[in-house]
Each structure stands twice: as C-alpha cells, then as structure tokens.
C-alpha cells in the first residue's frame, strides 16, 4: 500500500520515462549484437537491384521529411550505397522541401568511385505537386524540370539525352517517404507505364504496402530501422540500422512488459473486493 502511494507521488509517467531512457541508453553504450533476420520483402528489393543489367536507368523519388527521416535513414543510406556501387544510371528528384538537405547528408557516406555527375547520375531539384507531379514525370520530365539542382539545363546533361518519360527507366524507387509516394508511384508509373516500383520506407507506411507487394505491384520494400538493418547486412555495410536494432528490441521489450503490467493492474482493480 505504501509502495503504491510512493509511486503515485512520483508519478507513474515519470517512472516510465526513466525506464524508457535506461532501456534505450544501456544497449546504445553496450551493444548486444542481436542477429538480424532478413525478410522476404527486403531480400526481394535487394535482389531486384542486384540483378538490374549494367547501364539500366533508375529513377529515385526522394520524399524525405525531416520529422520522420530517422526511421528511413538507415535504409535510404544503404540503398544509395548499393545503387551507386552498381553500374546504374541514377536520376533522382525531390518531392519534399527537406529532401535536398537530407540527401546531401547521406551522400557523404556514398563512395562515388569514378562516377561522373551528369554522365551516370543526375540530381533534379525539389518539385511540389504530389501525385500530379509523379504522373507528369511519368509522361514528360522536361515539362516539370527545366534544369538540375545545380541550374544546368536538362538538355545539356548527357545522361538526360535519352531520358524523358517513365518508359526510359528500368525501375522507380521511392525513398524515405512518410506515406503516400509509394502509392502514387504504383498508380502513376506501375499501372499506366508498367515500371516496377520499389520502396525504402518508414515503419508506418510498411503495413500499407504489404498488400501491394503480395499483389506484385511493389517489387520489394524495407521496413523502417529494422529494414535498414537488414539492407545494411545484405550489402555488407553496417550503419545506423544495425546500431539501432538492439535499442529498438530493448525498448520494444520494455513496452510489451509495460502493456502486460498495465493489463494485470487493470484486471486486479476490476476484481470485486472481498
């Protein structure tokens, strides 16, 4: 009785905050190194990119919002490392205002080797307009973009010489979207132009994409930090995903325990007093 009164005085919430802080900090300082099991969805995405013929054109819709970016960061970084490692031509554009800033942070981790900007990769600027823009890009890229992120007119970029519509690409990859962009790509690129769609997505969007993956509309996708860790393991480049997996497991276990405790407590309170 005295114990409950003391707990109530401190406040249950503050105890929970403290427990969450501890369960996150301890594995951060002393990593456990829990194994990562690669899911079929991540494997599918990885294998699809791995099997793309050399010189294939890959479209990337970079849709990162700073607010939710940490969830997709690991997968996005691993995805970029993977894509730039392979001899693929990359055309990337932004559909969020935060995108260019976040991408420049990630590009520091990508080994460019002897890649030449304009010849095998191009960064197009931010464009507003949501699904309508994705649809417009599928039919006429020059109708949306006049120049790249550095102000070079599109017609002066060698890579863009033979690229202007969805059919010029082998695949479209949606990166770090906080919801919606994957469905836009399916509706505006996959259905009318038959261009496969892949996604490096956040945990919130992932369950929504599973039916599309089962139906074959999406070739594969990663699931938040966990998916990022899986992708890092696949490409053999450890990063934020693998580092955060332990923390995620530890905090999730605490939450499960708290749910059990709260339910037991509720049932105890509901039980008629003798």
């Amino acid at each position: 009785m005295r114990k409950t009164a003391t707990l109530q005085k401190i406040g249950y919430r503050k105890i929970i905050y403290l427990l969450v802080l501890l369960s996150a900090t301890i594995p951060m300082l002393y990593p456990i190194g829990l194994p990562v099991i690669v899911t079929k969805q991540t494997q599918d995405l990885y294998e699809y990119i791995e099997k793309l013929p050399s010189g294939s054109n890959v479209a990337i819709e970079f849709a990162a919002y700073a607010g939710m970016y940490p969830d997709a960061q690991a997968a996005t970084r691993a995805g970029l490392i993977h894509l730039f490692r392979r001899p693929l031509n990359i055309v990337l554009w932004h559909t969020t205002a935060d995108g260019p800033m976040l991408l420049s942070g990630e590009m520091k981790y990508v080994k460019m080797g002897n890649r030449v900007y304009g010849k095998d990769h191009v960064f197009l600027p931010y464009v507003a307009g949501s699904e309508a823009t994705t649809a417009a890009l599928g039919t006429n890229i020059r109708g949306v973009f006049k120049s790249d992120s550095y102000g070079t007119p599109i017609d002066q970029i060698p890579l863009m010489k033979n690229i202007n519509k969805a059919e010029d690409f082998a695949v479209i990859l949606v990166m770090a979207s906080a919801g919606g962009n994957e469905e836009w790509a399916v509706r505006q690129w996959m259905i009318p132009h038959h261009i496969p769609v892949g996604a490096y997505t956040i945990s919130i969007t992932y369950p929504m994409l599973i039916p599309y993956w089962r139906a074959g509309s999406v070739i594969g996708m990663t699931n938040g930090v966990r998916g990022g860790a899986e992708y890092e393991a696949l490409i053999g480049s450890p990063g934020p995903g693998l580092r955060r997996t332990d923390v995620m497991s530890s905090v999730s276990l605490l939450y499960v325990a708290l749910i059990v405790v709260a339910n037991v407590e509720m049932m105890r309170e509901k039980r008629p007093k003798q």
Binding site: P70, M101, P125, A128, A132, P211, A215, R244, S252
Partner: protein, 215 residues
Amino acid sequence: MDYATMLGETVTVLFIIMCYTYLIKENVLFKFVQATYVGLGIGHGLVMVVGYLTSSTFPAIAAGNISLILPLAMGLLLFGRLKRQYFWVYRYPLALLVGAGLGLQIMGMLKASLIDQMISTMSISLTPNLAGFNSVIIVFFVIASMTYFLFTVRGKEPAGSAMNPLLSTMMKIGQYVLMGAIGAGFAASFLGRLAVFMDVLERVVYFIPRMLGLM
C-alpha cells in the same frame, strides 16, 4: 571536427534537452524550441518553394509559356483562406485540386488497389506449408472483416429474434481481425516514433565522444 559542425552539434543537443524538459513540466525552454522548430520548418519550406518558382516557373513564363500563369494564379487564390471575407476565393483552386487529384487517383486505383489486390487475396495456395496456411487464413479474415460491415442484414433482423449464429460469429471474428490490424498499424507507428527518439538520444549520448574526436 570543424568549429561550425561543433557549434551545430552543441546547439542540436541543447535543443534536444530543452525539448525533453517538457516531460517534467511545460516550460519556456520547451516553448522556445517549439517555436524555433516551427519557424525554421516554415522558413525552409518557403525558401524551397520560392526557389522553385524563381528557377522554373518564372523563367518559363518569361520564355513565353503563358499557360503557367493559370496554375500560378490558382496557387495564389489558396491564400484567400487567410481572410474570412475572401474565403470563397479559396474554394475554386481547392475544388480543382481535389477533382484533379481524385481523377488521377481513380485511374490507377481501380487496378492497383482493387483488382490486383482482390486477385492476390483470392489466390489460395493449398500447399502444406506456412505460405499455404497464410493464403487460406487471409481469405477467411478478409471475408470476416467484410461481414462486420454488413449493417443491412443486421438492420433487417426482426425485433426480439436472435441473429444468425454463423453471421454473428463471423462478425465477432471480423471485429477482432480489424482490431488486430489497427493494433499492428499503431505498433508500426510506435516503431517509427521510436526511431526518431533513438536518433535524438544518440546525438545526446555520443555528444561528448564526438566532441573529443573519439567517434
């Protein structure tokens, strides 16, 4: 680490700590961070949009593509929302946006979100493994969930008579399936927020080692 990065890292960590003081009590430090974050976000977004207009839209109009004036004017009309007396002006571009958006969506939605997913759901694989079991259970759960929304049948039940036990059981299962799906959605949302929390916590925990050049 250069001085600009050090300053940036220090301000970030200070802001994170100031923000989390909210957990103890709402205070001026938290409010300051909140206002700064909103201000920075809007400022950055505005700069990007103005940048797009000045680099793409205005040069295109100046080059003779006068058809772009129409969407630009429509965009400006959206600001009518800010003043009550001009609110009606805002409705025109909004109607256009909703109409065009729906038109675009429906085109792909019928195939991607309905036909393809129905085919995928109904493709039962009768193999004695987990995939086969899953394919059967998914069909059953989809039917049960849909039964939950059969309000017409429920409404036609004569007063005082019991509902068909099979239908009632299916509805109950459907209810649990829906609750499970919503719970899974909430859990996914929790994981997303947890990732954001981990990111900010990492910045705080690794701050000193980073400043000392140990990381």
